[in-house]
């Protein structure tokens, strides 16, 4: 169980995240939604160690992650992918994934053996297969399509064997067909890997279709939580985010 309690973060006196409390049960799939500037990415940064909260706690299976290094947070089982794919442009897909597995298994400083260490291959191949990157292993990451770069970004998080996976807008910048393919893959991933999956998404069709639970952030505060039906009909959400009327939201 990932528990976020009283989380607070401000930048120059402006509260980006203010008193946010959310529980993410093990194996759950949750969408985080909210208008631009709602604090969604900041929320992810606070969970994954990209930022340190000013107050509050992030507890995973009883361990408080606040103040821990990124490496410790990864070891605890938190992995993340980014809104704009953060990859290693000059490395091939294979090298990137093998490098990630090597780092995760504490062999990043090894100078006595040749890269890659044979024992890293299995996990790399498993994840590449899971995300449909097997045919692209020899391709330099910079030469991948936008969608494949997003998949590689997710794969980089996945090879670290996370228990909780944070996906920041996995479909950002994709065309309609590509979006649905990506989200189906994400959904498969959640089912097969038994992950606790939390994703930020702007496309409400996607959110309402696949997320059993939705948390809505607005101006850094948790505005609402609930099932798609509860969120769809929540007046505060409709006013703040989805539109001004139920009819518009339905459209």
């Amino acid at each position: 169980m990932l528990e976020v309690k009283g989380l607070f973060k401000s930048f120059g006196g402006v509260a980006a995240i203010s008193d946010v409390n959310i529980d993410f049960p093990t194996g759950s799939l949750t969408a985080i939604i909210g208008p631009n500037g709602a604090g969604k990415s900041t929320f992810f940064n606070l969970i994954s160690g990209g930022l340190t909260p000013d107050a509050g706690s992030v507890t995973f299976n009883g361990t408080n992650l606040v103040g821990r290094s990124r490496a410790q947070i990864i070891d605890a089982g938190i992995g993340r992918a980014f809104q704009v794919a953060r990859i290693f442009p000059t490395l091939t897909v294979e090298e990137s994934l093998l490098g990630a597995v090597t780092a995760h298994r504490r062999r990043a400083q090894n100078i006595t053996h040749r890269f890659p260490l044979p024992e890293m291959r299995d996990r790399m191949l498993e994840v590449a297969d899971m995300l449909g990157l097997t045919e692209k292993l020899g391709v330099t990451s910079a030469n991948l399509s936008h969608g494949d770069q997003k998949l590689l970004d997710i794969a980089l998080a996945l090879v670290l064997d996370p228990k909780v996976l944070l996906l920041d807008e996995p479909t950002a910048g994709m065309g309609p067909d590509e979006r649905w393919r990506m989200i189906e893959r994400v959904h498969e991933l959640w089912e097969c890997e038994k992950l606790t999956l939390i994703f930020i998404e702007h496309d409400m069709d996607i959110v309402f279709k696949i997320a059993p639970k939705i948390s809505v952030l607005c101006y850094g505060r948790l505005l609402a939580e609930g099932t798609p039906d509860q969120i769809r009909t929540n007046p505060a959400v409709i006013e703040a985010y989805l539109g001004t009327s139920h009819e518009e939201a339905a459209v």
């Binding site: 994954s48 990209g50 990124r70 490496a71 990864i74 070891d75 993340r80 980014f82 953060r86 990859i87 290693f88 442009p89 000059t90 490395l91 091939t92 294979e94 090298e95 990137s96 093998l98 490098g99 990630a100 090597t102 780092a103 995760h104 062999r107 990043a108 400083q109 090894n110 100078i111 006595t112 053996h113 040749r114 890269f115 890659p116 260490l117 292993l137 020899g138 980089l156 998080a157 670290l160």
Partner: protein
């Protein structure tokens, strides 16, 4: 399709062949000028390749790497002159002291990024240069270490004999390059490439970027110092020019001329720059002007080093053959 990577056995075989060729060269082409050139290139090849561990593999452009070259020359020379130790012991002192220097300078410099890192390394180099100039009783000031460096025989090797000196220099270079090759092809070498490409992302994979950069900085410093030691043996002294900022500049030029995307590029650049220096200096007193024009041609016109073009040619040929095969 997974790429095949160079394995250690292949690299050792290539190094052994290269060493045999270099050791036989004086018998095939007996020329003092060629011998001297190759000894100098041996020193510079270690210096430039170690600098490329920072510039090409880690993305850290050090403007102060010459400090290690000069420090190596002085540490080795002073150990031989003042302490009267054997050459292997002086070598060990040079390696350990340069590692300590790298640790201290690196621990401070690596906290800075981009141009700030470049300039703080330059500042450290100028600090060392000023110390060498000012500390006359120890370093000889602007005259350098006077009186020559003693070269007592060890293990049947007498470095006062030119042939031994030549064989020693090329052997140190080949072994040094082989070790650096192992480092860049190891998991650590790929960690450095990941840091170069996206250090922020590397931290989200659990990589301790500071530790990896510091390790690279220390390793580069040690091999830069070994290059300086080879040079000190060759010229039987150590001079302030070795520790001046122009030495760091020459290291960057070597990488630019030879190419930073291949392992052998900086060593090739060391050979090209040394040849250019020799040829142009012989032909005109305005050698700086011609050298500058050549470097501008590479930097602005070609934008790649010589070995980068060779590597590109092989890559395109490989891609063409794989396309026709499929």
């Amino acid at each position: 399709m997974m790429a095949t990577r160079p394995n250690l056995v292949r690299d050792v075989a290539i190094a052994a062949v290269a060493l045999i060729i270099l050791l036989l060269l004086p018998y095939v082409w007996p020329s003092k000028m060629v011998n001297d050139l190759i000894i100098r290139v041996s020193a510079f090849a270690l210096f430039a390749t170690s600098l490329n561990l920072l510039v090409g593999y880690t993305g850290m452009v050090s403007f102060g790497h010459g400090m290690f070259f000069g420090f190596g020359a002085y540490a080795f020379g002073l150990s031989m002159q003042r302490l009267g130790v054997s050459i292997p012991m002086a070598f060990l002192i040079t390696v350990v002291s340069s590692a300590l220097l790298g640790l201290v300078v690196g621990a401070i410099s690596i906290r800075l990024k981009d141009i700030y890192f470049s300039f703080i390394t330059l500042a450290f180099q100028m600090l060392l240069y000023s110390t060498v100039i000012a500390w006359v009783p120890l370093t000889g000031g602007d005259q350098g270490l006077m009186g020559g460096i003693p070269r007592p025989p060890f293990l049947g090797i007498d470095l006062s004999i030119e042939a031994h000196r030549y064989a020693f220099a090329v052997t140190i270079m080949v072994i040094g390059l082989l070790i650096l090759r192992q480092i860049v092809e190891s998991p650590f070498g790929y960690t450095l490439r990941m840091i170069r490409d996206n250090s922020e992302r590397a931290t989200f994979l659990g990589i301790n970027v500071f530790r990896a950069k510091l390790t690279a900085f220390v390793i580069a410093g040690v091999f830069g110092a070994i290059g300086g030691m080879v040079m000190a043996l060759f010229v039987s002294g150590a001079y302030p020019e070795f520790v001046n900022w122009t030495m760091s500049g020459e290291g960057i030029f070597m990488i630019m001329l030879g190419g930073l995307s291949t392992f052998v590029g900086p060593a090739a650049g060391a050979l090209i720059l040394s040849l250019l220096n020799d040829v142009i200096t012989r032909g005109t007193e305005h050698h700086g002007l011609f050298l500058g024009a050549v470097i501008l041609l590479f930097a602005l016109g070609l934008r790649k080093g010589v070995t980068d073009f060779v590597a590109d040619w092989f890559r395109l040929r490989r891609e063409a053959s794989s396309r026709s095969g499929s």
